[in-house]
């Protein structure tokens, strides 16, 4: 007999619980999942495709890293799948006829959607080419979500006094970006796992446009307070070295280790560059060390041996210097539009168009009407469902009495049902979103 096929996972992280459980299940994780989609498939051009691919790297690991878009795929396809997959965030890249690249950042299922125009962008590969030491090995950096730093998103209160809408816009943007990545807590998150940083800096513009600069860096740590020579002797530093060729220094010809450490011929400890402290990027890190698990016998021995030794506080705090290496991409995003729904619905803000009060009122009225209509349809649908349920119950009880009449009865019911289905086709579509939302809340 043929061997049973073992299913391979198409997306990483399925095994270790990063993927949320089934919708509605209680153990569902609250990890924001995202999809980065380029709309319009290959027509969008290789540059934007690459940009989308780069952005996928940024939002790793809780994303559809190997999503394949087809020409026939519409936004609707992704949104329908988002519910079951637990996707909460959408990043949609598109290109207008004029050649402008747009990035839409939307929340699933309810929205809102922020539409940005990508004023200019630099691909990750261009950044890596420009670097003197381009390093390929950042693989483990993408295994955990990055740290998000937002700078200058909110303007001061006196600025907002004139424009109350601006404040709403700012806070909305900030909260939306904040929810992009899972929450960092000192008790659960491991510090050494944070290896990337995503920076969003709002640029102050005189003309009041909302421009955000996006940068993506890798975080590297370097021990400070040690001279280069001592670092060369440190086994942990040795392990971290990328070039394994330059191993331990050769001290065989020296009389004393001090000759090596204090050798002033090539700098020695007197070199200022070695010991100089960049205080503004220095941090203290608690070094995690493995402690030997002692047996009861050994424990007793230690306790009887010297109490003061056991009581002595262990200081394995290290000073480290933080250095950032840019990974790319860079983007300059200009907020153009905010929509209420997922790429649809009421437009809450538009950079170029400002409506007068009357127009606003009119639009509000229109949306209100739409909402009412929707409500009405929903109500109707609910009634229909209930009616059908009741009817079914009735027929069932009828069939228990005699089977012959039932056949004709059933037929008529079927046609009735079909009609209802036809009627309520679009209603159900609308209802889809609500189901999704319910799931989310659960």
């Amino acid at each position: 007999m043929a061997k049973a096929r073992k299913k391979k996972r198409s997306q990483p992280g399925g095994a270790n619980g990063l993927v949320p459980g089934k919708p509605g299940s209680s153990n569902r994780l609250q990890v924001p999942q995202s999809m980065v989609i380029r709309l319009g498939a290959a027509d969008i051009g290789s540059n934007v495709s690459q940009l989308a691919a780069d952005f996928r790297e940024v939002v790793q690991p809780h994303t559809a890293a190997r999503l394949k878009e087809r020409r026939s795929n519409r936004l609707r396809d992704y949104t329908t799948m988002a519910g079951p997959l637990g996707v909460t965030h959408f990043f949609l890249f598109s290109r207008s006829d004029a050649g402008n690249v747009h990035l839409r950042f939307a929340l699933h299922p309810r929205g809102p959607t922020l539409q940005f125009r990508v004023d200019d962008y630099v691909l990750a590969k261009d950044i890596q080419h420009a670097q003197k030491h381009s390093r390929a090995g950042w693989k483990e950096a993408f295994e955990t979500p990055p740290l998000l730093v937002q700078h200058g998103m909110l303007s001061s209160d006196e600025e907002n006094a004139a424009n109350p809408k601006q404040k709403q816009l700012e806070s909305l943007t900030q909260t939306m970006f904040n929810a992009m990545f899972p929450v960092i807590t000192p008790s659960t998150t491991k510090l050494e796992k944070i290896k990337r940083i995503l920076l969003l800096k709002r640029e102050r513009q005189e003309d009041g446009t909302f421009v955000i600069n996006l940068r993506h860096y890798a975080i590297t740590q370097r021990r400070t307070g040690l001279t280069k020579k001592i670092k060369r002797l440190d086994p942990s530093e040795q392990r971290k070295r990328e070039k394994k060729g330059t191993a331990l220094p050769n001290l065989s010809r020296l009389e004393d280790a001090a000759d090596y450490l204090l050798d002033t011929a090539d700098g020695g400890y007197t070199s200022a560059s070695d010991t100089e402290l960049d205080t503004d990027n220095e941090v203290e890190v608690v070094q995690t060390t493995t402690r030997k698990v002692l047996s009861k016998k050994e424990l007793d021995k230690v306790r009887s041996g010297g109490k003061e030794q056991a009581e002595k506080p262990r200081t394995n705090v290290e000073k480290r210097a933080i250095k950032l290496v840019e990974l790319g991409p860079r983007m300059k995003l200009r907020l153009v539009k905010v929509e209420e729904g997922l790429c649809e619905g009421r437009i809450m803000w538009n950079e170029f168009i400002t409506k007068s009060k009357a127009e606003e009122k009119e639009l509000d009225q229109m949306w209100e009407e739409k909402r009412k209509l929707k409500e009405e349809r929903r109500q109707k649908q609910k009634e229909n469902v209930e009616r059908k349920k009741a009817l079914k119950k009735k027929t069932k009880s009828n069939t228990a009495d005699n089977g012959e009449i039932r056949a004709s009865d059933d037929e008529s019911l079927d046609t009735d049902e079909v009609e209802d289905m036809l009627e309520d086709d679009d209603d159900e579509q609308i209802d889809d979103d609500d189901h999704g939302e319910d799931e989310m809340e659960e």
Partner: protein, 303 residues
């Protein structure tokens, strides 16, 4: 340019000329080995004047000019016959063509070419055998055609003939400027060139649209704004770095606080490891939140 020839040479030349051995005047220009126009060797033709031809004329208009040409042809044929009769030795060769050469000009000219060659041959043969009578040679000398090479009228006649030839209108225009094919080809070429130009422009536009917004040199050296870019990038990097440092410090502080809380709980005598841990976490969390929220400018994602 005139060259003074020595007297002896002059004399000899004269004697040669009397014997029918005329030396051709020296030619300074490039020698053209063969020049045969369609016009005959006879003097009769000299009175046919040069009919001016308008180059712009169409073929139809050229028809009246063509008429005298035919007459000339006839006259030429007659003359060639007369010459052939006079020459004894070459008569066989000469007598064959005249009727056939009457209708087509080219053939006729060929025939006349032959005539001339034959004449020359006859001349040579005369020179070789002196036994032939002098009188005959002299009589021939009078009919010997004058060289057309330096004759302007001959040239004018031939060129006028060329220009006035009637060309069947159906055939391709011999004048390239008038040719429809050439005009078409030229138009096609120019249009194709235009098309190519337009296509390349479109392509360039498309490529530009595809590349819109993309910056290829992140350092801004090629754009000439390296300093400005470097300053901006440094700024951004510093902000990011400060954010990271803040986070690390917050972590450290939370850790310390949690540690302290744990110790305190132990001192207080809270029962249960889980309970103690919970308290510690809570303490740490509070501190963490405070620390990160304290950095007003940069807000990191926090718990």
């Amino acid at each position: 340019m005139s060259r003074i020839t020595p007297v002896s040479a002059k004399k000899r030349k004269l004697e040669d000329a009397m014997r029918g051995k005329t030396t051709k005047p020296r030619k300074r220009t490039k020698k053209q080995k063969r020049y045969h126009s369609s016009s005959s060797e006879d003097e009769q033709e000299e009175d046919v004047g040069f009919a001016p031809v308008n180059l712009g004329d169409s073929d139809d208009q050229a028809a009246p000019v063509a008429k005298p040409v035919k007459e000339q042809k006839l006259a030429k044929n007659g003359s060639s016959e007369s010459t052939s009769k006079k020459s004894r030795k070459t008569s066989k060769k000469v007598e064959q063509p005249p009727e056939s050469s009457a209708d087509e000009e080219e053939v006729g000219s060929d025939a006349s070419d032959q005539d001339e060659e034959n004449d020359q041959a006859g001349n040579n043969s005369d020179m070789s055998d002196d036994s032939d009578a002098e009188s005959k040679s002299t009589s021939r000398k009078t009919t010997k055609p004058k060289s057309k090479r330096n004759d302007p009228t001959a040239f004018s006649i031939s060129i006028s003939k060329i220009l006035s030839t009637k060309v069947p209108s159906k055939s391709a225009d011999p004048l390239l400027a008038h040719s429809r094919d050439v005009a078409q080809a030229r138009a096609a070429e120019s249009s194709s060139r235009l098309e190519a130009k337009a296509a390349s422009k479109l392509r360039a536009e498309k490529i530009a649209a595809l590349q819109k917004g993309r910056i290829r040199d992140p350092s801004g050296i090629e754009r000439g704004i390296a300093g400005q870019v470097a300053r901006e990038e440094k700024d951004l990097r510093r902000i990011a770095q400060r954010g990271v440092v803040q986070l690390f410090n917050a972590f450290r502080a939370a850790h310390v606080k949690a540690e302290a809380a744990r110790k305190e709980e132990r001192m207080k005598g809270t029962i249960g490891m889980g309970e103690r841990e919970r308290k510690a976490v809570e303490m740490g969390k509070g501190g963490f939140l405070e620390r990160i929220a304290g950095g007003r400018k940069s807000t990191a994602t926090e718990g």
